[in-house]
């Protein structure tokens, strides 16, 4: 009775010893399933996307033909399509700047002044909204910004109704109402990605030796000078690291442009419409290559700024 059990144990031990000695085999066995998944499902899909971006879309029969063409990429340069790219780029830049301006003081306060209970409180208070449901956060903003909603109520109570009217009348940032204006869209984008900006800045400020700031003040620098010449340059990798998120996430988003802000396509909405309503997968694929290239360039720039060490 005991023999098969014993040999079973011996076999298991032999396998263990074998794997321990041949650790490369062990490594391969462990790595194979995840690599297969990512190699086939993910990289394979990206490749399929790239291939499709070179396919021909027949305008008359509304079908996709597997015949190679550069036409989709040429179409990207048409004025109407190029406008979409520029509009998305401008919004992504604006969102990153806005997030940096708002996120920096918060991160600075977290590192320098939040002690005791405040430390844990601030950390979790930034983390929670970051992970909270994305679609619900956006939905909540449509409720807040709606005409007759909370934002309008507070603005009218503060007697700023006319100020808002004239602000919304401005070109480029304005719109009919808060929820259909560029301003509203900028606000929602910034809200959704702000925590992604705060955390990297916080970790990069944490690594700055506080003596440097004291020394700067001792040597007679005003707070503004210390900020410009000491704090900001040293915290810059964190700012750039944060902007990777704010920029790239804005660049590829299509839910917020659909729900908040004026009409006019973003890259994300264009991709969605092209593949869904029109069925022009090749053009949609060509449009997705734009964020891939822009984000690739941006990551190269960020790496050169040392942002990856701040992540």
């Amino acid at each position: 009775m005991t023999t098969p059990v014993k040999s079973h144990i011996a076999l298991r031990r032999n396998i263990s010893s074998f794997l321990y000695r041949r650790s490369t085999v062990y490594l391969l066995l462990l790595l194979l399933p995840p690599l297969l998944w990512f190699g086939i499902v993910y990289l394979g899909s990206l490749l399929a996307l790239l291939v499709q971006s070179g396919y021909t879309f027949d305008d008359f029969s509304m079908t996709v033909l597997p015949v190679f063409t550069w036409k989709n990429y040429q179409n990207l340069l048409l004025a109407a399509n190029f406008d979409i790219v520029l509009r998305t780029f401008a919004m992504a830049t604006a969102v990153s700047l806005f997030c940096a301006c708002l996120g920096f003081p918060i991160a600075y306060y977290m590192v320098r002044y939040a002690g005791g209970w405040q430390r844990g409180f601030f950390y979790i208070a930034v983390l929670l909204p970051m992970w909270a449901s994305y679609i619900v956060k956006v939905y909540s903003w449509t409720v807040i910004l709606a005409k007759g909603g909370i934002a309008y109520w507070f603005i009218n109570q503060a007697g700023l109704g006319h100020a808002l009217e004239s602000l919304l009348a401005l070109p480029f940032i304005g719109g009919n109402t808060l929820s259909t204006s560029h301003l509203g869209r900028l606000l929602v984008f910034s809200y959704v990605w702000l925590p992604f900006m705060i955390l990297p800045i916080q970790s990069s400020i944490e690594r700055i030796n506080p003596n440097l700031l004291t020394a700067s003040a001792d040597l007679g620098a005003r707070p503004g000078q210390t900020f410009r010449t000491i704090l900001l340059p040293l915290a810059m990798p964190g700012v750039v690291a944060g902007s990777i998120f704010t920029f790239c996430l804005t660049f590829g988003d299509y839910i917020i442009p659909t729900l908040v802000g004026p009409s006019g396509f973003f890259i994300g909405t264009m991709v969605y419409t092209q593949q869904g309503a029109i069925g022009n997968m090749p053009m949609a694929a060509a449009f997705t290559v734009v964020p891939i290239v822009v984000i690739g360039l941006y990551l190269t720039f960020a790496k050169r700024m040392g942002a990856f060490d701040a992540l």
Partner: protein, 269 residues
């Protein structure tokens, strides 16, 4: 680098104002779910009621969406835990040619915008001639959830002493025994935290799902459909609160599970 100097008032104001700004929409959702009014978003709120909760949970389409989301998130989490742990176990100690590239590939699905992952998967499914169904949603979610588990587990592996594993093997335990008695207890909370985050991420995912879902509607997709043609506002508010809670509670759990884990048994040599 805490400073004893006095904090300027404006900085304190911006910091606490910023935190308030981050939480304001969450508070709004919580408040509106109990609002008595039927059709609009007017403010101030009209009154308190629980009747929309009853109405929402009596709707078959909402229950179906919740069930589907739970199913997808559970299977995704299981797959992400298995794949993420294997990857972490393989990569935490050895360095070899191509390791950086492999790490990058794991991170890519979450670093690139969801729309790219989504449309890439869709184009691959179409080229392969597969119909979109439950499993295509799971495949999409698993792809970006692996990295969450991977990150949590690899951090724990790096802090787990290699001596423990070697001691276990020296004392005659085989691989399975070492795994169940030494490795698993050490990485258990990291696994749980990673799994919980993966679950929340999958439950809430919308962008990839819009591309990889067929006729099925997950809860976020149900919500998005409501938003593009507004009706049943009070019920939408209730569902929004439910989705919000389903993401917030796991995050809090994960935070408390991984907090203060700097000292691990055996790490002091």
């Amino acid at each position: 680098m805490r400073s004893d100097g006095k904090c300027p008032f404006w900085l304190k104001f911006v910091a606490f104002g910023g935190i308030f700004f981050l939480h304001f929409p969450i508070i709004v959702i919580a408040a509106y779910a109990f609002n008595t009014e039927e059709s609009a978003f007017s403010f101030p709120l009209q009154g308190f009621t629980l009747k929309w909760f009853a109405a929402a949970f009596a709707r078959q389409d909402i229950l179906d969406a919740i069930t589907l989301s739970l199913k997808v998130a559970s299977i995704t989490t299981a797959a992400a835990i298995v794949l993420g742990t294997m990857a972490a176990a393989a990569l935490y100690r050895r360095s070899f040619f191509g390791k950086e590239t492999i790490t990058l590939i794991f991170i890519l699905p979450i670093a690139l915008p969801g729309i790219i992952t989504g449309i890439a998967l869709l184009s691959a499914f179409r080229m392969a001639g597969w119909d979109l169904n439950f499993w295509t949603i799971v495949a999409g979610h698993t792809t970006f959830c692996v990295v969450v588990v991977y990150n949590n587990v690899i951090a724990r592996f790096r802090r787990t002493s290699q001596n423990l594993i070697e001691a276990s093997m020296d004392l005659g335990a085989d691989g399975m025994q070492t795994f169940f008695h030494i490795i698993l207890p050490n990485i258990a909370t990291a696994l749980l935290a990673g799994g919980v985050l993966a679950f929340a991420l999958s439950f809430d995912e919308i962008i990839v799902t819009t591309f990889t879902a067929g006729p099925e509607r997950t809860l976020p997709i149900w919500l998005l459909n409501q938003l593009t043609r507004p009706r049943d506002v009070p019920i939408t508010n209730v569902v929004a609160l439910v989705v919000m809670m389903a993401t917030l509670i796991p995050i809090l759990c994960a935070y408390y599970m991984t907090r203060g884990k700097e000292s691990i048994e055996g790490s002091g040599k």
